[in-house]
């Protein structure tokens, strides 16, 4: 996983609530069997509209997505996270994220930052007024900074440690092999099995 420490970049204001994973990456893109090449599928339907915020020339190269509440609802497709990353986003800010999407994002190093809607509103106003305005997301200080905005955000210490160091979850878990084996030894005989013993 890519480590995340501090990121500063221009932003895309996405003033919509309930942006579901079918909007982020439509199902027909899910037939790909790789983790890359999803950038053209990001918000595919909306991007057909030249006025859609992502298509505006002043948003080119932006790396911070400032989204409405309940971002990432719907399916468990990790492709939604890959599509945002493939496109160039490093972080997404919203007042509420869907659980599975949030989990997927943190496992891939796409930092999802939860801020009060009033702060999201302030960021929207700032970057709409001045598209060159930059937003800094500082995971070390757990703080978002932009002109006129300084907001602390929460992230549990364990997730933060994994992100700051870009750690691979599986290697961490495999250190607990003894505990896993011990648990397995005590599983009741009535538990289901997919293969005959």
């Amino acid at each position: 996983m890519e480590a995340f420490t501090v990121h500063t970049g221009r932003a895309v204001p996405l003033r919509r609530s309930n942006v579901d994973t079918d909007q982020i990456i439509p199902a027909h893109w899910l037939k790909k069997v790789t983790r890359d090449g999803f950038e053209d599928g990001l918000f595919e339907a909306w991007r057909k509209d030249p006025e859609f915020v992502l298509n505006r020339p002043e948003r080119e190269g932006a790396t911070v997505l400032v989204a409405g509440p309940d971002f990432g609802t719907g399916s468990s497709r990790e492709h939604a996270v890959w599509a945002l990353q493939n496109y160039g986003f490093k972080t997404v800010i919203s007042s509420r994220f869907a659980d599975i999407f949030r989990g997927n994002s943190l496992k891939n190093g796409l930092l999802t930052v939860v801020l009060e809607q009033s702060v999201v509103d302030a960021l929207w106003e700032l970057v709409e007024k001045d598209p060159t305005a930059e937003i800094t997301v500082d995971l070390e200080a757990r703080e978002v900074r932009a002109e006129g905005v300084t907001a602390a955000f929460e992230l549990d210490e364990n997730s933060r440690w994994r992100l700051l160091n870009g750690l691979d979850d599986i290697s961490i878990t495999l250190r607990e092999e003894a505990d896993i084996a011990a648990y397995e030894a005590g599983r009741p005989a009535h538990k289901p099995r997919t293969l005959a013993a």
Partner: protein
């Protein structure tokens, strides 16, 4: 709230000393636990301060869409699948529902299915491919084989894994990184969720189904209302539901944003499971049932949140918008966006009406449809097909309306055929298809054309979900059937004609 660990039959072994002793409340009295907390505690492999719990996974279901990158990850790291005996795969999202004996026309879909077959062969995973009698939508197949059991942890790279909670299993959808994690370790690090009780007391009125109930719940608590929670559905209206109806309810927990939905196992659950291919046998069955009976929320347990619903007040429910929380009783009209107090909900409603091509104030019963889809992991089981057949028998699908009936699994399809339901559908003018996810998400050729409107028994009415530009109204199976007959959103009560007896 961290509950006290109570030893479960079969021994809850080593993890006890890590997570048990220090968690007795100060007064030294054992605190009651909810169903979700009991199942959670029974699967903690390791618990440490400041870290997520490491949970053991009893059953891992795989399908072709969210697994290829996970198998790639294993290969790159030289890892194998830790527990092949707790892993099973099926093909469902991409599979065609017609001409299944011919090569799959879409080369990209074909490549994805071939990738799953190659991965399962290489790693030794049991797979039910297209054409196999056990093939079907992953969430229909698990319960049908008796693999989904009370008190188990079930995961799948699919958000509708919440379906399996109907058995009192803790079941949740995961992303591809987590799929790889479970393949390699049979565990997942997870933060303990909060719990919410959804209590539905009373009796559902005639013609009101589990689908109407869950759509009403989602409209009530919102698409984000369940975020961070495991929902437990309880109360007399839930206890009276069949297993299949319970699955419909738990299936859509994710549509309220919840991690999982659960229903305490009872005699209905045990009767469903007994004698299924993977249900425990003999002494194991007795031990299992004894354990399963302990899986009830204690009387003194405290939920983090509670919602109470009076079953008697429910009615057939449909969606008018582009998320499952934008719903209303069928007897209502398309709402005026101005009626929403919250600014972002108001804006979402405006956008939804624009996309759906609807005018505020139009009675929902006047909304005409082009397509009716019956199927999916929400409503593709035999009882769903029976309820559709009951309404449509002796009637005809309205002119200009296309109706697709897609069984949730090959077994459901065979059962329907043995009951003659396929004939009922075909005589009414519906298309009877092979099993798969089909038009629920249109990854196979079953899609809506731009601007086409459907009444669908599936779970998501997102923009473009059933095909680019397609417009979806989520409905129950009986409403789907009545809608097919009248060509507009309707319930069986709206059918005033007498069905024509077969053969006349």
């Amino acid at each position: 709230m961290h509950g006290v660990v109570v030893a479960a039959p079969g021994g809850r072994h080593l993890s006890l000393k890590k997570c048990g002793a220090d968690e007795v409340p100060a007064e030294g009295k054992a605190m009651g636990r909810t169903l979700a907390e009991k199942v959670w505690d029974d699967h903690v492999v390791r618990r440490a301060e400041g870290e997520p719990d490491l949970l053991y996974i009893d059953l891992h279901l795989l399908h072709e869409v969210t697994s290829p990158q996970a198998f790639d990850g294993l290969r790159k790291s030289g890892r194998s699948v830790r527990r092949l005996d707790l892993t099973i795969a099926t093909e469902d999202h991409n599979t065609p529902t017609i001409d299944i004996d011919k090569p799959i026309a879409d080369p990209v879909s074909r490549a994805q299915l071939e990738t799953l077959r190659k991965n399962c062969a290489e790693f030794g995973v049991r797979l039910h491919s297209l054409g196999d009698v056990e093939q079907g939508v992953v969430h229909v197949v698990g319960p049908q084989l008796g693999l989904t059991q009370p008190g188990t942890t079930v995961v799948c790279g699919d958000s509708h894994t919440s379906t399996h909670g109907a058995f009192g299993a803790l079941a949740f959808g995961i992303g591809t990184s987590q799929v790889e994690h479970v393949l390699a370790t049979q565990t997942l690090p997870m933060a303990r969720p909060k719990t919410m009780a959804i209590t539905v007391d009373g009796e559902l009125p005639e013609g009101v189904t589990a689908k109407d109930l869950i759509l009403a719940v989602i409209t009530k608590i919102g698409t984000g209302g369940g975020q961070g929670y495991v929902l437990e559905y309880r109360g007399s209206a839930i206890e009276n539901l069949s297993m299949e109806a319970r699955m419909t309810i738990c299936n859509m927990s994710i549509e309220a944003g919840a991690r999982a939905g659960m229903i305490a196992p009872d005699e209905t659950t045990f009767a469903y499971l007994e004698d299924r291919p993977h249900a425990p046998q003999g002494a194991d069955w007795d031990a299992a049932v004894e354990y399963w009976r302990t899986l009830r929320t204690d009387d003194d347990a405290v939920f983090d949140a509670e919602v109470v619903i009076d079953a008697a007040e429910l009615a057939p429910f449909v969606t008018w918008g582009t998320n499952p929380g934008q719903g209303a009783p069928l007897s209502a009209s398309v709402p005026d966006p101005a009626s929403f107090e919250d600014a972002s909900e108001r804006f979402a409603a405006e956008k939804a009406l624009e996309y759906m091509g609807l005018e505020a104030g139009t009675p929902l019963r006047e909304v005409k449809v082009d397509t009716v889809f019956v199927g999916s992991c929400t409503n593709g089981r035999i009882e769903d097909l029976r309820s559709v057949a009951e309404v449509i028998k002796g009637r005809k699908v309205a002119d200009g309306v296309r109706m697709l009936v897609v069984p949730g699994s090959a077994r459901v399809g065979l059962q329907a055929v043995s009951e003659g339901l396929d004939v009922v559908f075909k005589e009414a003018g519906a298309e009877w298809r092979h099993a798969g996810c089909s038009m629920c998400l249109g990854m196979n050729p079953d899609q809506l054309a731009p601007g086409e409107r459907s009444a669908s028994t599936s779970n998501r009415n997102f923009e473009g979900r059933q095909g680019k530009g397609g417009r979806t109204h989520l409905v129950s199976p009986p409403v789907a059937a009545a809608t097919a007959v009248l060509g507009r959103l309707a319930s069986p009560a709206d059918l005033t004609d007498a069905p024509v007896p077969a053969g006349v």
